[in-house]
Amino acid sequence: MRRGTQRKMPIIWFVLLALIFGLTILSSILAPFEPNAMDMNHIYEAPNGTHLLGTDQLGRDVLSRLLVGGKVTLFIAVFSVVLSSIIGIIYGGLSGYFGGTIDAVMMRILEALLTIPTLVIVLALQAIMQGSVWRMAIIMGITGWFVTARIVRSEFIRLKELEFVQMATMFRTPLWKILFSHLLRNSFPAIFVVTIFNFAGAIFTEVSLSFLGIGVPPAIPSWGTMLYTAQNDLLVGAWWMGLFPGMIIFVTLLCVQAIGGTFKQGGGRSHV
C-alpha cells in the first residue's frame, strides 16, 4: 500500500510541473492581455472578473505577466542548468577518468571555487555583465557546475574500476566509446538527480537576484522581478502582487524538489 502511494507521488508532481511549463510556454497564446500594456485607469485593481489576478501599479495584468514571466524564469533555469551540466560533466569526467595528478589538481581548483559562496560569484559577475536574460543565464551556468563535477567525478571513479570497463579497456575499446557508452551512460541516473536539484537552485537564484534588483532587468517580466516590484506594492495593500508570484515559485520548487527527491531515493536501483 505504502509502496503504491510512493509510486504515485512523482506523477502528481510531474503533472503539476508539466502544467506550469505548458502554461508558461504557451503564455503568448494564453495570456489574456499584453503583459507590458499599461492601463492607468485600472491600476492596483484587486483580482476580478476581467483581471483574474488583479493589476499592478501601471495597470498591467498580473496573470499575463505571471505567465510570460514564468517563461523568462524557466528559460534562465533550463539554459543555465544545461550549460552547468555540460561543464560539470566534462570537468568531472576528465578528472575522474584520468585520476592521479590531473585529478588532484582539478579537485583542488574545484575545492577552491567551492569555498567561495556561489551567490557571491554570481553577484560579482552580474555587477559586471548586468543587462540581459541571456547574460544572467550564462552567469548562472558558469557558476553552477561545481556539484555536478564532483558527482560525475565520483561516478567515473566508481565505474572505471568495475569489470565491464576494465574488460572494455582490455579489448582496446576506443576511449571515446568507454567514456560515452560505459562511464557517462551509467552515470546518467546520478547526473539526472543532481540536475533536477540544480534546476530548482537555478529558479531560486534567478528569483533571489531579481528580488534584490540585480537580476533580470525590471522591464522584463520574470517571477523574480514581479516579487521585486511587489515589495512596495504590499505597502499600499496590493497583496495579490506578491502572493501569486510567490505561490507559483513555491509550487514549482516544491514539484522539482519532490521529483528530485523521488529519483534520489530510487537512485540505488538504477545501478543494479
Partner: protein, 249 residues
Amino acid sequence: MFNIENLTVRINDKYLIKGMTFTVPKGQITAIIGESGSGKSTTISALLGILPAQATLEGTIFFNGRDLIDLSRDERLALRKKHFFTIFQDATNSFSPTLKMKQQLYSLTALRLGHKNEAFLAKIKVILKDLNLSEDVLESYPFELSGGMLQRCMLACALYNEPDVLMADEPTSALDMLHQQEFIKRLKKLHTQLGTTVLLITHDLGVAASIADFILVMKNGEIVERGQVAEIFEQPKHLYTKRLVANHF
C-alpha cells in the same frame, strides 16, 4: 607460457603479494586456492595489469618469453586482446547495466574477432543453448538476469573467443551445484578441444580438485604449497593446506 618470478604487489607499506614465483604451463589448468584475502584475485590483476593506480608492482611476469611489465600500455593491451580472456568474480559488474546483452556479448566476442552480426548470432545462439541459456538473454538487460546466468554468459564469451589463456576468478561462485558441474564440464571441453591454458582462482577446493592439473596454495600473499592435485589433496604438507583440505572434505 607464464613464468612469474618474485612477484610483489604492495600498496604503501602493505604487501598484498610477497615474492611469488610460479609458472603456468601451456595447455594446463593451474588453480590458485586459498581463503578470501589471501591475494588470489590480486595475482590475476597483476598478470592482467589492472592493479589499482596506487599499487606498486615488482618482479617479472614473462608471457611467451616477453616480460609484461616492460611492455608499453599499448603493447600490453594488444597482447591481452590477442591471447587472454578473463572471467571476473563479480559477473553482475562484468556487464554494463544500461546496455542489452546482445550488444555487450557482441563487443566481447565478434567485434574482437572481426565477425559479422549474422555470424555472431548464429554462433552465440548455439553456445547459449549449450549452456542452457535461452535466446531471450540476448534481448535482456543484465539486471534482468541472475548472477548465475550472467556468469554463464561470461563463459559463453570465453567459449566464443577460444582464447589462448583463460583467467577465471571464482567463476563458479554464483552458480548452483547443477550449473557448477555444467560449467566445469564446459571449461574442461574448452581446455581439451582447444588446448586453452587456464588459470583458475577459487576458494572452492571441490572445483579445483575436479578440474585442475596443478595447484598453488596461497596464504597472506604467499604461495605456501604447490603440487599436482593428488599431492595437495592426498598428502598436504603445509599446516594451512592440511587445514583447508580437512575443512573441505
